[in-house]
């Protein structure tokens, strides 16, 4: 076995070298501006460039230095030496996946990861953000809380997307800036999103880790007002999806909301003592709630009522 491995390794190395030469000749650079974040993605896997062109049509850029850089190429597993699609950020291996349908979701994930690592200007939270009028609704939550499906439901009612994954709070303005990446929809919500009339990229199905099968809804493929602009936080809602339960919207104090947001920050540690001050300032004029339930339309109705002041909450 040892002899076989020793004989095999040089062959693999030669194969890799040929592979890399072929891949290097075909490298494509995708330069995007996604809201306030500039991203460079170097792609050495056929077909992925076309997928990005479908996901973010018209969002290419020709100037500006990237805030986040990601590479994807064919390589090998470090453990089994099996062929993999490797995704790196600044030279660090972030993901290594087997199947082509896993590449795009992990690239999207890698871009987010690089934003966390490299973009120090913003206090970042794991949250979806949508805009109505001049105010942002921030929905912090862990995976599975329902924030993406809620985002889709509100976008179908005309709310504008600021972000599906990240709330970017600018400490200088206390406002949320846009980072409108494509919504990653899990298979359990495909039918719901299609019923909402949103443009689910139906021809493509992907796989993303524990989420399983996923598909995308991109604001870049929707009408020109689908994406929001920088605005202050007017509402903060902590969603928790509970299947079969009625939608309930319960007011909470701004302090409780701020504490929950701080817990869901990606980079509060880097801001140290400034973090709670920034969060407190961002929520200073916001109405804050917990939202539980499993009925999307009822949940969106309650949020719409609060936002349009039809429901007065102390």
């Amino acid at each position: 076995m040892t002899t076989l491995t020793a004989n095999l390794a040089p062959t693999l190395a030669q194969s890799d070298a040929r592979h890399e030469r072929a891949s290097a000749a075909a490298a494509e650079l995708v330069r995007l501006r996604i809201g306030v974040i500039d991203v460079d993605i170097t792609i050495r896997v056929p077909g992925i460039r076309e997928e990005y062109d479908q996901l973010y049509p018209g969002w290419g850029r020709i100037d500006g230095g990237p805030a986040a850089t990601v590479n994807v190429f064919r390589g090998r597993s470090r453990y089994t030496l099996g062929r993999r699609f490797v995704i790196e950020g600044d030279g660090d291996r972030l993901f290594s996946v087997k199947r082509i349908e896993e590449v795009l979701p992990h690239l999207e994930w890698a871009v987010n990861w690089q934003v966390v690592r490299r973009v120090d200007r913003y206090l970042q939270f794991h949250a979806a953000v949508v805009q109505l009028g001049g105010g942002a609704l921030v929905m912090p939550g862990s995976p599975g809380s329902g924030k993406t499906t809620l985002t889709a439901g509100l976008m179908a009612r005309g709310w504008r997307l600021l972000s599906d994954e990240f709330a970017l709070v600018d400490p200088d303005t206390n406002c949320v800036d846009p980072y409108p990446k494509a919504l990653c929809i899990k298979s359990g919500s495909f039918a719901i999103v299609e019923q909402l009339g949103l443009p689910l990229m139906a021809s493509r199905r992907y796989r993303k880790g524990r989420k399983g099968r996923v598909a995308y809804v991109s604001a870049a493929t929707m009408h020109e007002h689908a994406v929001g602009q920088r605005c202050p936080v007017r509402w903060m809602v902590l969603p928790r999806y509970i299947a079969g339960e009625k939608a309930r919207l319960t007011p909470i104090s701004r302090a409780e909301a701020a504490w929950e947001m701080t817990r869901l920050s990606f980079n509060a540690q880097r801001f140290g003592p400034r973090a709670p001050a920034i969060v407190s300032a961002a929520l200073a004029n916001a109405q804050c709630f917990r939202l539980t339930g499993g009925d999307l339309q009822a949940a969106c109705d309650r949020l719409q009522n609060v936002a349009t002041n039809r429901l007065t909450v102390p």
Binding site: S253, A255, A258, T262, P273, P276, S280
Partner: protein, 96 residues
């Protein structure tokens, strides 16, 4: 050494961020944030190393209009919690 919760003293090296009648308290040494609701904040602000727990409870009763013994028990429980979260310091217990 056992500690007495009789005259608790709040730490003065913490960042305090009021939000309405509550506050976020930031401990830079531990990079940890706590939320104090209005009652916890009321108690914590009176932990100046000179007031006893019972004195704090007496003041709280005047504000909240609740039975004294219940409030005294709640204040002691709150101070234990504040100490557990390292927001206050306790003095040494007096020897019998």
């Amino acid at each position: 050494m056992s500690l007495s919760i009789d005259k608790p003293r709040r730490r003065t090296d913490l960042g305090v961020h009021p939000l309405d009648d509550e506050a976020l308290v930031y401990d830079a040494a531990r990079n940890a944030t706590c939320r104090l609701n209005s009652t916890a904040l009321f108690i914590w602000q009176r932990c100046d190393g000179t007031q006893t727990c019972d004195a704090i409870a007496d003041e709280l009763v005047r504000v909240w209009d609740a039975p004294l013994e219940t409030v005294r028990a709640d204040v002691r429980a709150a101070i234990s919690q504040l100490h557990r979260h390292k927001l206050i310091e306790l003095g040494p217990a007096k020897s019998p």
